[in-house]
């Protein structure tokens, strides 16, 4: 019954055409970064680097809320894409922006299907679809985190 229920829910879900996929986490900035890293890794990706945009801006006198970008990817995908579709190189590793908003946190990531539209061909459609599905699931799980 549980399996059928899950299958039904998956079938009922739609693909929405937002340019940027977003989620609001009820957890604070630091906890959201930790949770995001964990979720990304649960989906088989590796977080290769965290860019501290806030630190850089503070360093030169600009005041900002917490702002970090997580770079992540799968080695085999990076190798394959850079060889077969080098026009995608500027977009890999993938990026997730994490932005503090008070005690809550916003998470955003480019919608791969919209990126596909801007790339201008559909030779990587299956790859973009897989990313889109993974990103939506990761965001849904981050959205569902309870307030700590």
């Amino acid at each position: 019954v549980k399996k059928l229920f899950i299958v039904f829910l998956l079938m009922a879900s739609n693909a929405y055409a937002e340019n940027i996929l977003m989620a609001r986490s009820q957890q604070n900035f630091t906890n959201t970064i930790i949770a995001a890293k964990q979720k990304i890794e649960e989906y088989g990706y590796t977080v290769s680097h965290i860019q501290k945009c806030d630190g850089g801006m503070h360093g030169v006198g600009y005041k900002t809320d917490g702002y970090k970008v997580l770079f992540f990817g799968k080695l085999d995908e990076v190798k394959k894409i850079s060889k077969l579709h080098p026009e995608m190189i500027p977009f890999i590793p993938l990026k997730m922006a994490i932005i503090a908003e008070g005690n809550e946190t916003l998470i955003s990531i480019i919608n791969p299907l919209e990126l596909e539209r801007l790339i201008g061909h559909n030779k990587m459609h299956t790859q973009f679809q897989r990313w889109e599905s993974d990103f939506r699931s990761i965001l849904a799980e981050l959205r569902a985190l309870e307030k700590e």
Partner: protein, 343 residues
Amino acid sequence: MLATFLILLSKILFAGPDGRELYEEHCSVCHQTKGWGGIGLPLKVKHIQVFSDDYLEKTIRLGRPGRVMPAFDALGDAQVKALVSYVRSLGGKDAIDFPTTHIVGDIEAGKTLFSENCAVCHGKDRAISAQGTGVTLSRERDFSVIPPSLLNTGFLQSASDHMIRYIVVNGVEATAMPAFGKNQILTKQQIDNVVSYLRSQEKVLLTKEKASIKVGASVVFKSEYDFKTTIANIKESISGANFRSFPDRYLEQGLVEEIAINKKQVGIRFCNFESLYKMLNLDPRLGVVLPCRLTVVERDDGEVYVYAINVKVVSQLFNNEELSRFGEKMEEIQMTIIDEAVL
């Protein structure tokens, strides 16, 4: 067991979409969980709540081209209705049913009146007057709304003539929008002229919008120099363009052990914090692309290429005209840097 499953299934099949769930999934990220606003406008305030369901439904479907609000065009009718119903429950005010008939006025006179009375807050074209309004980092939370861009296809297709007239006549409480009719700033005829002018722009703007979609998200340049020289040239060029450089990162760095990294794919990263700060104020989600990276690749045949994001094209993702203008400037600078380095 089977009976329980069938009951559960029938409940799922015949239950309508859950507005709250949809709101939390699609809207709360910008409009905040309880509708107090964030990147997006607060939704529980009276002046938004009195707008008709039709206006809210169309707004969800069409978004606001040139602004942060996306078009949720893949949502089904039932989902949009559930969302509107939930949004309305946040404020609990009754909607006004505006007539759908068109208002007839003097378009040319309306254009002049718009320019004299409205453009200062609402912008002359699709642009908005205030810098960076509508987004997280810069939005003044003391203001319940920001003057919307009226010459916007999303707005014009959503709002009826009578709704626009109602707002112009009555103003908007607790905002800078005066009651032009009630306070006799404009006559009824003058207000109708303004409404007619706005309506006349709907088709014009739609045509322009369709013509402006661009593709080609990245740019590729073949270098006339070897791998090392190309990297050195790019760094020199970046420095000359007043950008700060960061340590290079290999494309595969962090994904594999250091020893196994392909060292013929290197990202040269740079930033101008003043520009980054301005752009993040326009849209904090910019981090999803972070365009300031040029990747130099030596292919198996020894040829060297430079790859970069086409900032002008990718900035379309942010649905923000001001950011797109920044994107065009950035694109020009980036092209100059690459040209100097590879030719």
